[in-house]
Symmetry: C2
Subunit: 246 residues, 2 copies
DNA sequence: GTCTTATAACTGACTGGTCAGTTCCAAGAC
DNA sequence: GTCTTGGAACTGACCAGTCAGTTATAAGAC
């Protein structure tokens, strides 16, 4: 049941990449072995183990997002990373270790980015919240950044450990910080008397809904994603409401 | 690729259940065959084909939600429905037909429930939107009702046909109806000049965020789900904003 | 009522295929 | 030469889907 709890001892031998090989323009051995000559122009092995784990993780993230964890094959992940299946197991002990490493790798950057900004900043909480939303919008433009929460949400029921990891690293910091910010806004007379805890949902929900509609169902404004416009529209409503007179 | 489009020819031989068997208090053969006597009290199987498809679908929905489509085993679905694996294939031609039937079965009820209510009602759009949100809240209290969109969102990348089915039956009706409603609110002077299309995200997003936080990550208010309170809090913000003076 | 026959509902062993994880040897780096 | 790296064949488990056989129920014969 909970063999999920098997801790990963990911090798991850150094993440600083040396770039011994030219990276791009890799000959990669023409697939059709035409002619009889066994010519192997260009190096068959690239010998840059340091960059490999990240490449494998990128490939795995792409395929997990596309097909889901269970349906994604290690063979395909390896192929996308430009290596063979066996090589994957040089860097990661199991398929599950891949998803764990993906989430862990993404946690560092995410954690710092937005939290300090809002937990510490003094001044009108409206400005802080607006700034946070705009940063969030800028982040979500990258497909890569969006893929992580998507993957976590999708696989959460199957991998409670990973969901908890994410929750602890991201949500348990962002949600309380936002709540505190709203509470301060009330205390300092900027906000009306509302429930700070529940209001957090009103702050982030519209962005979530926008991404779900666009990403999952392909429902988006005529002029593309329009995340900027969405966020400005949302900020206007969040602080001043829909009603005209008010 | 799109073998999803294979239409399901589900037998579903009449949904009016005959209830030949007493339904409840079914002996169902005590699982532990205690004593040496091979006594088989009660019928070995129940013979009520009319109720079976729905039971299978219920079991399948539960397991798909728990483990995801790919990881759920037909054997487990059958066991939860109280029949054998082979019997599942008496009613549904394939595993995929299960997920299709689940979504189709859920579509009828959902479609009617909320759309007419908001598309047609005249009067202050604020009251209509409030009413819609409250109905939505009441619906989402049932774990069953929540499971369908969850499943669709989760499996959408793997089953674009199903995502589109859901989009067409639900979203393509709800989103435009809400958009029109907001537009009318603007035209009639109830709402400020905002982008109606984007504002739809502000109307439904907070509820979505609440359900994701609660359902996926177990983050909920001290006093339980509190959907009612969330919705009232959201309505207050949506129409009049957070700001005090405004 | 009891017996016989027909058929619908169901079972579970089996098959064919897929895939995670292993192994081992060849090829490259140094 | 030795050490490192990669690849592809292999293994073993797992599982969707099949099918020949079994059991319950209904209908008709008497």
């Amino acid at each position: 049941m909970t063999e999920t709890s098997r801790k990963l001892d990911t090798p991850r031998r150094g993440s600083a990449r040396r770039d011994l090989a030219p990276a791009d323009s890799v000959p990669r051995e023409s697939p059709d072995s035409r002619e009889t000559t066994p010519r192997h122009e260009g190096p068959k092995f690239r010998r840059r183990a340091d960059a490999r784990p990240d490449e494998v993780l990128d490939a795995a993230l792409a395929l997990f997002t596309e097909k889901g964890f269970a349906a994604a094959r290690i063979d395909d992940i390896a192929q996308r990373a430009g290596i063979s299946k066996g090589a994957v197991y040089l860097y990661f002990p199991s398929k599950q270790a891949l998803i764990e490493a993906i989430v862990e790798r993404a946690l560092g950057p995410i954690a710092e980015e937005a939290i300090e900004r809002l937990a510490t900043l003094p001044g009108d909480p409206r400005l802080v919240i607006s700034s946070v939303l705009r940063v969030l919008g800028r982040q979500l433009t990258s497909a890569q950044a969006l893929a992580i929460p998507r993957l976590v949400i999708r696989e959460a029921p199957s991998f409670p450990d990973i969901a908890e990891l994410y929750r602890r690293a991201v949500l348990d910091r962002v949600v309380p910080a936002l709540t505190a910010l709203i509470r301060r806004g009330i205390a300092e007379g900027h906000f009306r008397q509302i429930d700070a805890e529940l209001t957090v949902r009103s702050v982030v929900g519209p962005v979530l809904a926008h991404m779900v509609l666009a990403d999952i169902f392909g429902i988006l404004p005529a002029d593309g994603l329009a995340l900027d416009r969405l966020i400005e529209n949302h900020i206007a409503i969040l602080f001043d409401g829909l009603s005209l007179k008010a």
